[in-house]
């Protein structure tokens, strides 16, 4: 047996918004180079948990955390953490495609430029490489100077993935990345995620249970801030051990 590499080790981890406990003492490991899906009804804390993986919750002033969140063995909530660097290593893609209002090229080159890459040929290489990995290169290689906002929804979402990949992240967090897309674009993104997991660890929050079933290796089911069940996706969808999980995935919830 090959030993599993846990890129995130989450232990007794809680998140508060003021007095409200949004995530309740969760313990969970995220395996490297796999897709882990987080499912659960609205308000269950799944997006909050996702955003805590690269400290996006810091942007909400009333939020605070308890417990441990180790990324590659280091506690990311340590006061010495370089949050900018953390967010480079742990990227994020959102529900609604949100390219910058600039060209396709500039969208992807933005991160590397900020990081100090100046040489045009180097930037060109990074941009092409990221667009290839995001399976968008063929469609945009002749319109790199067009606005990112002129692309279709599915293309914009892949542009956002390319923008994230240009930062050479180890993990990408996806918050409902296909809920604004049509079924074909959704299938493209799903295929892309399957391919990307070979080089990047993926954590995805989705309301679409079939999507979690189709693409993930592991599934976490959350309810009212608690982690109810976590396991192999096969087990969760064929033979869940917890009654709440069963009710949720068979659509008999509440």
């Amino acid at each position: 047996m090959v030993e599993k590499k846990h890129i995130f080790e989450i232990k007794d981890f809680s998140i508060y918004y003021g007095a409200f406990m949004a995530v309740k003492t969760i313990t969970l490991n995220i395996e490297a180079n796999r897709i882990t899906a987080i499912i659960g009804p609205s308000g269950c804390g799944k997006s909050t948990l996702l955003r805590s993986l690269n400290r996006m919750n810091d942007l909400i002033v009333t939020s605070r955390v308890e417990g441990q969140m180790l990324f590659q063995g280091v506690d990311i909530y340590d006061k010495d953490t370089d949050v900018i660097e953390l967010r480079r290593r742990v990227g994020m893609v959102f529900q609604k495609p949100n390219p910058f209002p600039s060209s396709v090229y500039e969208n992807v080159a933005y991160g590397p430029k900020i990081r100090g890459v100046k040489k045009k040929s180097h930037l060109d290489e990074i941009v092409e490489n990221a667009l290839v990995r995001a399976d968008l290169w063929k469609e945009v290689k002749d319109k790199l100077n067009d606005s990112g906002l002129s692309l279709s929804g599915g293309q914009m979402q892949r542009l956002c993935i390319a923008r994230s990949l240009a930062q050479e992240p180890e993990v990408i967090l996806f918050d409902e990345p296909t809920s604004a897309l049509d079924p074909i674009s959704t299938a493209n993104i799903e295929n892309l995620l399957q391919e990307l997991q070979k080089t990047v660890t993926i954590v995805i929050v989705t309301h679409n249970m079939q999507q979690a079933a189709r693409i993930s290796s592991y599934t976490a089911f959350m309810y009212l801030g608690e982690l109810i069940e976590f396991g192999d996706t096969d087990t969760i969808f064929v033979n869940p051990q917890n009654k709440l999980t069963e009710e949720y995935i068979t659509g008999r919830f509440g």
Binding site: M209, V238, E246
Partner: protein
């Protein structure tokens, strides 16, 4: 989900209807043999197409539900179990037809000797079919495990029946044709019991999510 629940309930009822028809076919085919009632045997043969039609209908409904409702967890296990056990039930129906066919042939000849082992086998086999179907409705209990255990008794009776008939055949080779037909009938019953065992194993899967086919059932597994 109310519609889906109704659909699942209707599907379960169709499986039970199929089970009822198969139970009748088995009972009547054995009765036709013991009572030397060839009309009843022909009745069993004539009714088989109804079993086949229902089997096909249930399979089609399962495929429809998988496509349209995308069942998960216990719903998924229920539907896959249904698809598998209707195949077993349909095969049982065919075996009842085989018994009926042999009964007609044997009824045209003088009685070889009174039936001893076959009625016993038929009784156990029918109880296995009944309990397997009951456990499909009642769900997780010890019942499917009991069904699996009883299969050994049927196997033993099959061997005993063969050995007895063999000694008859050695004494009097003229009766070989008739005796062989009787061994066929025992074999058919033994196969029906095997199908009942398959059903019981699938019920355990439906309940527990564990495939126990082709494994020894350990004591641990027998805890419902």
């Amino acid at each position: 989900m109310a519609i889906f629940d109704d659909e699942l309930k209707a599907l379960r009822e169709r499986v039970l209807k199929l089970g009822f028809m198969v139970e009748n076919a088995i009972r009547d085919s054995v009765k036709a043999l013991i009572d030397r009632d060839s009309d009843l045997a022909r009745e069993v043969i004539k009714r088989d197409h109804l079993i086949n039609a229902l089997d096909v209908g249930i399979d089609e409904e399962c495929v429809r539900l998988i496509a349209l409702r995308q069942p998960m967890a216990r719903d998924l296990r229920f539907i896959t179990t249904t698809m598998k056990i209707t195949t077993d039930l349909e095969r049982m129906g065919d075996l009842a037809v085989n018994i009926a066919e042999r009964a007609i042939e044997l009824n045209n000849e003088p009685q070889l000797k009174p039936f001893v082992n076959i009625p016993k086998m038929a009784e156990i086999t029918q109880s296995m079919v009944r309990d397997a179907l009951d456990s499909f409705v009642t769900g997780c209990s010890r019942l499917p495990y009991e069904v699996i255990k009883r299969d050994d008794e049927v196997d033993e009776l099959t061997v005993r029946n063969f050995e007895e008939l063999l000694s008859f055949m050695i004494q009097d080779p003229k009766i070989i044709a008739l005796a062989v037909k009787r061994t066929y009938i025992a074999k058919y019953l033994e196969r029906i019991a095997d199908h009942a065992t398959n059903i019981a194993e699938m019920i355990i899967y439906m309940c527990k999510g564990k495939m126990i086919r082709h494994t020894e059932i350990s004591e641990e597994m027998q805890t419902p």
